[in-house]
């Protein structure tokens, strides 16, 4: 149960009239403060990151489901990485699948146009999403647009399009972008499935982004071993060994 006095609220919706409407309604409810508004999930997470450093906490976020750049479901998934995630209330105009999924998992949602009474009850019982609830909602947003990493109480977002390769190392996966490396706790198999159209598995422990593969070369790794195929990548000096089982990919690419 969230303390009803002084609730800090964030709104995320891509449509200005929808944000205005929510702000008007919230203005009629007491003890509530709309801290900020965002045009999509990405903006919302940026705002939360900034407020985190200012020591102000967000209690509730009102998340529209269909937004460009990053939709509501994905945003909620990333929010879970916060040490103290805010409560999430989804808003949607009409989406049969989403509504079914919400009902089944008892996640709170508001149907647009939203009534003030309905909004009040939702705020009163607003609570943090449980991990299994989120997992159940994941199919609504089958492909994430970003990977998120929790770092010192903030969420770092790495756009999928910036990722050059993903390499499994013991418990973690190294996410390599042109600038730096990140560590995430996920399974490579799951990532491969989710982004099958963007990444290719070159090796048992490595997925490379198709967009960053420059070409392939046969190289001597050390003097005694036989020559091996490696993939050359844009922006980074390191190469990725192509395992014997995946060498058919090179032939396909050369045709």
């Amino acid at each position: 149960m969230v303390n009803y006095a002084n609730l800090n609220i964030l709104i995320a919706d891509d449509e200005a009239p929808a944000r205005n409407r929510l702000r008007t309604l919230l203005g009629d409810i007491e003890n509530i403060r709309v801290v900020a508004e965002a045009k999509n999930g990405r903006e919302l997470l940026d705002i939360i990151n900034r407020s985190q450093s200012e020591q102000t906490s967000t209690d509730i976020v009102l998340l529209d489901i269909r937004m460009p750049e990053m939709d509501g479901i994905e945003t909620a998934q990333h929010l879970q990485k916060l040490p103290k995630p805010p409560a999430v209330i989804f808003t949607t105009a009409y989406d049969t699948y989403a509504i079914k999924a919400f009902d089944m998992n008892a996640v709170d949602y508001l149907l647009k146009p939203i009534r003030i009474e309905r909004l009040q009850t939702a705020l009163q019982k607003a609570r943090v999403l449980l991990p299994n609830q989120l997992e159940a909602l994941a199919p609504l947003s089958p492909k994430r647009s970003h990977l998120s990493i929790s770092e010192r109480g903030r969420i770092l977002l790495v756009p999928i399009s910036d990722v050059i390769y993903l390499r499994a190392e013991l418990k973690y996966i190294t996410v390599r972008t042109a600038e730096r490396e990140y560590l995430i706790e996920e399974s490579l198999a799951h990532l491969e499935q989710e982004f099958s159209n963007l990444f290719t598995r070159l090796h048992r422990n490595c997925l490379a982004a198709n967009a960053y593969i420059l070409g392939y070369e046969k190289r001597n790794q050390d003097e005694h071993a036989e020559k091996q195929w490696v993939a050359l990548l844009k922006h980074v000096p390191e190469t990725i060994t192509v395992s014997r089982r995946q060498q058919h990919l090179i032939r396909q690419n050369m045709l």
């Binding site: 449509e15 929808a18 008007t24 460009p68 105009a93 009409y94 089958p142 492909k143 647009s145």
Partner: protein
């Protein structure tokens, strides 16, 4: 166009094609019966075709030119006239060929006439069956079932947008509600007759005004319709669902928005409608789009048979729908 009379539209390309196919199938069957091997079959087919194809074309031409007259008579009278035309056509062709002695294997006139009548009867019977299968009642029921439905997503988002205007901008809210009323009047009407294109374009503009309310500067529309005669007839709600799709799949997923281009032009006897919108790979709901396209395709077939087409393609970052339909203009007298 859909017809209420039982007579097939003899000026329709699809009908002419069907006549040619059935007649030629009958000729091949005849040649097959008369032959005992592949060589004799080919020989029979060529010798029959020499006389049969010109007869067929002459008859088709006669039927084409007399269609307006035939259409005014009752079905029974029309059938009688069609047989008279076939007789005339066949006799004329026979008379023409008999002048040349090289056509030594020219069949006798009665034999040719019997052939022509039999084939004519088969074709008329086929069209009668076809007509019953596609009777106006059934066609209208199908058209009604195919009636374009607006996305509930749009309805509720628009209502939400209007609600947000009521307190601060009541004037704008009024206009928006008026636009919505007009839009839903058309959507709920029985949209079975063709409408002038100007009417459809006006509807699309009202629809876009509502979307603009929500999406504001994210939605841009470019109309390339300067040379279009406003009274061209098109099926109602042909453009609006396509534009709705373009907004939903092309504009809404883009953070900075984009431009939808609507182009209409006439070329020879055809009307071309081209709609372009930005394409994003992220768009997840492709089924909805295909449903709408399939629906429009089916309605085009019911209205124009084979004379209309709908093609869609994706080139780089642009998604394009191209509709071609016959140029029919509203008659000035009504």
């Amino acid at each position: 166009m859909r017809k209420t009379s039982r007579l097939p539209n003899l000026r329709n390309l699809g009908v002419a094609l069907r006549i040619l196919i059935i007649a030629n199938a009958a000729l091949m069957l005849g040649a097959f019966v008369l032959s005992d091997g592949i060589e004799t079959f080919l020989y029979q087919l060529t010798s029959i075709s020499t006389f049969a194809q010109p007869t067929l074309l002459v008859c088709l031409f006669l039927l084409y030119s007399c269609y307006n007259f035939l259409n005014k008579t009752s079905y029974r009278q029309a059938i009688a006239f069609i047989f008279i035309l076939i007789t005339l056509g066949t006799t004329a062709v026979h008379g023409f060929f008999s002048q040349f002695w090289i056509f030594s294997d020219l069949p006798s006139l009665p034999r040719m006439l019997v052939y022509a009548w039999i084939i004519g009867a088969i074709i008329l019977y086929y069209f009668n069956l076809h007509h019953r299968a596609y009777s106006p009642a059934i066609t209208e029921a199908r058209l009604q079932a195919l009636q374009a439905r607006i996305r509930p997503h749009f309805l509720f988002n628009s209502l939400n947008a209007v609600l947000s205007l009521i307190r601060d901008q009541p004037k704008q809210a009024e206009t928006a509600l008026e636009d919505m009323a007009d839009l839903f009047r058309v959507l709920m009407a029985e949209n079975r007759e063709l409408v002038p294109i100007a009417q459809e374009i006006a509807l699309c503009r009202q629809y876009l005004a509502l979307e603009k309310l929500r999406l504001d500067e994210r939605l841009n529309v470019e109309w390339l319709i300067d040379d279009v005669p406003p009274d061209i007839l098109i099926p109602p709600l042909l453009l609006q669902p396509l534009i709705e799709n373009a907004v939903y799949h092309g504009i809404e997923p883009l953070i900075g928005g984009g431009t939808i281009t609507v182009q209409v032009y006439t070329k020879r006897n055809e009307v071309h409608l081209i709609l372009k919108n930005p394409y994003t790979a992220q768009s997840k709901h492709h089924n909805g789009n295909n449903m709408a396209l399939k629906n429009i395709k089916e309605r085009l077939t019911l209205h124009f048979d084979l004379e209309a087409s709908l093609k869609s393609k994706q080139v780089n970052d642009t998604y394009e729908v191209h509709i071609t339909l016959p140029n029919q203009q509203q008659k000035t007298n009504g």
